[in-house]
């Protein structure tokens, strides 16, 4: 009798690990999702090794031999992507921007995933008054205009990476909670869940072992998409001048170029962060697109 639970736990663990790899293996079948995943992975590698790849400190002003500031220089051997109006090295800023995008994207997405899964599961599984209350709360949250709220909140709390991540979490849990709740609703009605309940399993046990593994695909997709939303929101805030002034981000690079009036002349300063943002966000959208094609049977080719 004492051995049975460990056995089932082990089986459940193997099953869980299998399911964790499952979405990636599944998405690999889709061409566009595969491109998206490869690009995302390459960007992640750059983000991890960013401090070793950047040739200069991102905010170090470069001086010529005569001791003059090397402002707005086009690309050269010394500065592969030229310099900014303050003589900062664009290439180093670009590389450090990878890191910030991933820190904000991944941390915020995990926080969003956690909150939406928690609320979605509690709401969908228990139903009744709890569900009503949580869904009313979600309705109110859904009426908050996204970017205006982010602007006001970051403006009031002060521009820092922590506050930006907090604001993104507050904004994006709402849609995820809705989606996860509706998946839980169908899972809850499955016959084996009822059997487990009759057999005396606790709610906690059922949620961890039966509900969670079955909504994992949806949670995984929502976290993936949240990385894109988070990066986009951070970039927009930074572009509007509400980014963390102590860290380099692509949005902030564009803001500096915009405010200093270099948009028209310094293409080497404007193009790299723009391209990096487009490629990274698109790669995530390609993954989401592939997921939709694979999971909507009516879109599948026949």
């Amino acid at each position: 009798m004492a051995k049975t639970p460990t056995l089932t736990n082990k089986a459940a663990n193997v099953g869980l690990r299998h399911r964790m790899l499952n979405p990636v293996a599944m998405l690999w079948q889709d061409g566009s999702a595969r491109i998206g995943m490869i690009v995302f992975f390459l960007f992640a590698v750059v983000a991890i090794f960013a401090p070793y790849l950047a040739p200069y400190p991102p905010f170090e002003s470069s001086l010529s031999e005569a001791g003059r500031l090397r402002r707005l220089e086009p690309p050269s051997i010394d500065h592969w992507l030229g310099t900014t109006t303050f003589g900062h090295d664009v290439f180093s800023q670009l590389i450090m921007g990878f890191r910030l995008a991933f820190v904000v994207g991944v941390v915020a997405a995990l926080a969003v995933g956690f909150v939406s899964t928690l609320i979605g599961i509690i709401s969908g599984y228990f139903g009744g008054v709890i569900d009503d209350l949580l869904m009313r709360l979600t309705d109110v949250a859904l009426s908050i205009p996204t970017l205006p709220f982010a602007i006001v909140a970051v403006g009031l709390l002060g521009p820092s990476i922590e506050n930006i991540i907090l604001v993104i979490t507050v904004l994006f849990w709402r849609n995820g909670a809705r989606i996860i709740r509706s998946t839980v609703l169908t899972e809850r009605e499955k016959i084996y869940v009822k059997w487990a309940r009759t057999a005396g399993a606790s709610h906690f046990h059922i949620i961890i072992n039966h509900i969670l593994p079955n909504v994992f695909r949806i949670v995984f997709l929502w976290i993936t998409m949240s990385v894109a939303f988070a990066i986009l929101t951070e970039a927009s805030l930074s572009f509007l001048g509400l980014g963390d002034p102590t860290a380099v981000s692509w949005g902030q690079m564009l803001n500096t170029a915009f405010v200093s009036g270099s948009l028209r002349t310094a293409w080497w300063w404007v193009a790299p962060p723009s391209i990096a943002l487009v490629v990274l966000i698109s790669s995530i959208y390609l993954i989401g697109r592939g997921y939709e094609e694979l999971n909507n049977p009516r879109l599948r080719r026949r």
Partner: protein, 326 residues
Amino acid sequence: MRAYLISRNVQSLFVVFVVTSIMFVMFRIMPSDPTAMLVDRGMPEEARQALLEKWGLTGTLWDQYLRYFGNLAVGDFGESFFYRQPVWDVLLPLIVNSLILAIPGLLLGALIGAGLGMVVGWSKRGGRIENIGIFVATIARGTPSFIVGIALLAVFSSWLGWFPAFGMGDPGDAAGSQRYFTFEFLHHLFLPLLAVIIFFLPENLLLMRSGVVESRTEDYIELVRAKGVSEPRVAWHAGRNSLLPLVTWLFPALAETVAGLIVIEIVFAWPGVGRELVLAVTRQDYPLAQAAFILMALLIVLSNLAADLTYTKLDPRVAYSRAKHG
């Protein structure tokens, strides 16, 4: 049905109330002193009190809250710290400017996007049109709108010099409502409008394409084809049925536009509500920022309500099931 409509309206009102309250509290519990930019340090105490009273900043938080809602109820948003004018007078022309950009942009984006989506959806499955169409649309969707704006400026303003880079017109132009009917205005409108269209196009393309692909395999399409109707007309049959989700998408999209417009207004220095919100936040002009935010939230609530009511009208089953499940 009527019970559903009433409860839906009450619910919207409640949401507006909650969002407004959240904003009120947020603006008052922030760490910095809201009066700092308003009142000089060396000002005599009496003058300071008079000023605070004028801006409704005296009394307990609760007093201020009640007063704020009392004023809101009669449409009074207070006075801007920065412009020293009633907030309404500042915002009204800006709302017009924003809508001039938002509404044509949204409609054209939806129209062009749906048209292209029909073409892509009806093209050969796995063919070149489908693959390229989806790929380009997905990348366009992943492009932040300020980058679209910067790219348009770089190409059409700096490089080709066809369009002005910022603003709504030259200083010497006609004033008042006359200014909207000049060539100069349209000349300035073109690039920001194009940016808004590009903002909406890919989403509509993908929505429409999914709808067309889904309905392609329906039996009635085979029936239409069996009648000997030409292929483009068959495509139109499939497309028409996919328009319904698009129509209900329009309302919430309008609300998102005004919000998403912010970065486009900033890039092109277009004097709209979104740009003013950013400026007000950086200037710590709280009455103005608060009012701009509340207007945007109100727009979202109203468009959600409109979308729901339209949907209920088109498909009465919705009201039934929602009345049952809350």
